[in-house]
Symmetry: D2
Subunit: 350 residues, 4 copies
């Protein structure tokens, strides 16, 4: 480890986003994981939980102890369940550790909204003011200066990146937005349950939490900021029999006449300098298999003359751009690294 | 074979809908398959093409010869590609054989619309007048008297059954309909191609033919009839890494105030006597795994107070209620059998 | 229900074999399910557990009460975990209810062997004497007269059917047998656990319980009877990322010179009259997809001149011929029905 | 590009091994791809064939022209079909380009054996003498000095690494070896065909080329060298419904008494310094999901007291350690790089 190497803690490392943080950071040019915590697996090597890392690390899991982490790490990724993350963020923040929270706990700026959707009173609402919503494509400069990042949800990342250009440029009627999203099963986490038991999930496909999913207010918050108006939209998540990936199909009425070429140009302009947004060539639409394991968000657009609607399709890997990759991207911005450091790897195809 | 047994020809029997017709008819109480045709496999036992039928049939494939079929069969199912089906339907119909056409060739009543979407001039447009669109839930009485049935497309079946109650009862603004459909790969047929090659389709998910899929006018035709007004809608098909099943998620603005209970009651009333439509209990949404291998269409509904939209989710097996099962249901109606004869079997779960 | 209809109890109906029994019996010409038991779901409709049966049954789950079952049913299928099945079999048997036990509790004739492999002392060893191992291809006549059937394990069914001809006809050296078996995940049952969590099982493949799987003594017992000598063999199960199916690849040294034709003839002769064994044409090997949902066992054979080994490959659906279908086949034999009654349906392909 | 950067050609870059070479080499510290060839896609960007590489490369495919390649590249990977690779290897070799041939064309030292199994007369048998079989664990020193590497087949890599320790140390009776291998569908290449069509391969499992697969002589050649005796064995490949991975389950009679601990120690000793072989802890067995996307070979061992057999299980990613990763490992050795350069990345889990 070089003197200037950034020391990293992965807090709550036994889930898929924890494992994915580890995979990515192994190859980061300037950061190294020094602490991994897991209550259940404290004392055990991380490779007991993640045998694919065998031979690549000797780290042993510790219980979550903010003081101990503060001694060993400069920045902590919180891969904890929501609610649980609040206290951990608070303690680590107090000790001067920079925090990227992958849970939902610091995404909604309004604590009342948090309470409505998450059915818990936020324990540290004052922290919400300093937390920055970590979508670099929208908040890059604020992220650079932040000490607490609310890493976006997987569905919101796919929805907001698809809608930002047309909402910001007032191309659509924001009262007509429908976001139909489809996620691989890893999005449900690593805890076994009947719905994710292989014989039940395999060869199955369903919508769930129709009209009630907790990622809805997060999408609406960010789009409302962009629209400078209150946005309410329909969002329906679905479970796909695959491990990774989110594809969102987004519909909205065009408020100004536009053909597909115009729409495509708008996106091209908007994302011109973005290292992780790939606007596909005119007429092409994304497939989650092409972003698997990578930090890219692929986008395809269509302006439908028959119905006057824009149809926008986005694809991300829910565990990378939708979670751990984006978290590292935020880390890079916060700590002054090249934004793409350790992240510009190709996905795994096939 | 009893004297009054109905004799059946499966024309173009080497694809998945042909095989599925065979599977279903094996257990039909009053019908028996007497002819199977396949140009490529003429002279070979049908079990060479479908090894799962080994031990259950000795039939040998024949080339397509309408005169020969007319001698051996009372009714023919056409499991041919579109365009090809036109001449076969015409010849068989002329010879007095009843026809259920599983292709798209007789679904659109307007030959000009057919030409626009299918890029072929219809060769026998006069037949379109006598053809009946074979969705029993909408056209049962006309089907009973028909000699040529246009068996509905798989996507249209899932879309129309989800929308019929609210369109017929004027509950929604028909200008706001979005149909987001997801299909298993068997919907693409049995011809190998790169997009359906296992390593490409597996762990992949994509939208395709965005705004341009040929099932669009078929859905619009039937909804326009129900609405007594011209309906134009957005329809996006997606490819799911699973073999069977279509799930359609349907969105439309409610034109009259309604909560989920009201919507649920409306569907209950509309489908009260339907043997193959299962409205799920309030608050539940369908999963394609529960209709796999069966002729059921499962439906769940939600009225979203936040957005004023109805969200309707339907699930069918694309090869059964979306093709061969519905074709047999139509046969039952045409030939005076109990509508459910040979069709009320449970799906295969898991 | 006709007067002479056989009344059936499914005891422990919430797992996959319970659901599959239900699916099969729905279409049985002479039997009807009158009782379903489930401790966890007592009082709930069976369709809460198995939504694919919606519209096909109104039965409500009951707690397991042998006296109550005896009043309502002539025959009980036990789809209980091993150990638990012992007392249920004993009580039902005492009350005059015929029993087909799908658990492992009555398969090993020797209670000491049971104790060694299952680490439990058998509570009713006297019942083991009257229990018949329910593999109709080997014990048809004894099954007809039995009142307690030990329904074979899924792996043993696939292994024994592949080896019976060559062992019975002394074609192989029984000291050289290797059985390499691969099973879909439904074989692990319906209880969620990390190894069967979709993202862990999907795109995974592993051997498990190498050299220690409990189905080993069951295979050896039956082959020893056939060989009239003690048979010890290597058996390795594997977990395949699919829902249904077992494929067993079996190796043994030929003890007499034979080419593939000779071997094929031997199998043809041995299984000539078997309704559910399909010997594939010379040179062809089975695929589990061709038996999915059906009661068939497909077999392919090869005599390898280079190595002097026979290679035999068998495929079954683990939940049908490997469990519930075979259980109904046993019921048919015990109760005097046609052996194939309700069972000669085609599998589901694709 | 630095002055001392190694320039690489990927010849036949449109298949999965070509894409995988590209993915790996993108992150190699000392090599850069300068030429990609594809007859079918000449003139098109490589990202048309591999959309997952979008944004990571601008290379355009060229037709195969050895003289042109020799100008632009120091080393060529041949990802061509067998037979085709012979002439390309010959021409490139003649022009002084180092060659790693991923096809089967230079693996068998004996041209007669090649002709027997591949049914083609070898066009440049003289080259076979200088070709080195590129399994670094066995031939590291010869690889360092080679200019033409025969990159091992995927199945042979998994089989030979599992057997090398026990064969070299004379622990088993080499007349009793059975190798039962299971591969993901990407092993069949990228050309669509019915057996690999998604609805046919999904939920399917089969053995194929029983007793006749062309990888058999390659395994026997290497084991015969190790045993210093002629080895003949049974090898059966199977197709698993997953994209990547090979698991081989290997059986052989122990020729000296040994328990699992002894066997484990032997493997530990044999592979002590191997960077890409991971012997799992005693009692654990590999799963292909833990090597997905990585260059590791995981191994588990069992000595079965009941049968006197060793059971050895190995897992690799067929496209990485079984093809492109191993090819880069060979390149590293040939060109004097650190053997693990660009290869010590973690696999993708889940």
């Amino acid at each position: 480890m070089k003197n200037n190497t950034l020391k990293i803690a992965i807090v709550g490392s036994s889930g898929y986003t924890g494992g994915e943080l580890y995979r990515i950071l192994l190859h980061h040019p300037g950061a190294v994981v020094t602490v991994v915590t897991s209550e259940k697996s404290a004392g055990k090597p991380i490779t007991d939980i993640f045998p694919h890392l065998l031979g690549l690390t000797d780290l042993v899991c510790e219980p979550l102890d903010p003081a101990s982490i503060a001694k060993k790490a400069d920045l902590a990724f919180l891969a904890l369940p929501h609610v649980t993350a609040q206290e951990a963020a608070f303690q680590l923040h107090k000790q001067g550790v920079k925090v990227v929270d992958l849970s939902a706990d610091h995404r909604l700026a309004d604590p009342a909204l948090y309470e409505t959707w998450y059915e818990h009173c936020h324990q540290h609402p004052e922290l919400l003011k300093s937390a920055v919503y970590g979508l670099p494509e929208l908040h890059r400069e604020r992220i650079r200066k932040a000490s607490l990042i609310a890493n976006p949800g997987c569905y919101p990342t796919s929805a907001i990146l698809g809608l930002a250009p047309v909402v910001a440029k007032k191309m659509i009627d924001v009262g007509t937005i429908v976001v139909d999203s489809k996620s691989g099963v890893s999005g449900a986490g690593r805890s076994p349950a009947l719905a994710y038991h292989y014989p039940e999930a395999n060869e199955g496909f369903m919508a769930y939490k129709v009209g009630t999913h907790r990622h809805t207010p997060e999408i609406e918050q960010e789009l409302s900021l962009l629209a400078d108006a209150s946005v309410t939209l329909s969002f329906t998540p679905h479970l796909v029999p695959m491990t990774r990936g989110i594809l969102s199909t987004i519909y909205a009425k065009l408020s100004v006449p536009a053909d597909t070429g115009t729409l495509h140009n708008l996106f091209q302009e908007f994302y011109r300098n973005e290292p992780f947004v790939r606007l596909l060539p005119l007429g092409q639409f994304p497939n989650v298999r092409n972003v698997r394991g990578s930090n890219f968000c692929d986008i395809g657009v269509h302006a439908d003359g028959r119905t006057g609607r824009a149809v926008i399709v986005t694809a991300i890997d829910n565990l990378v751009k939708g979670a751990s990759g984006q978290a590292v991207q935020n880390m890079n911005l916060m700590m002054g690294y090249e934004e793409t450091a350790g992240l510009k790897f190709a996905g795994l195809f096939p």
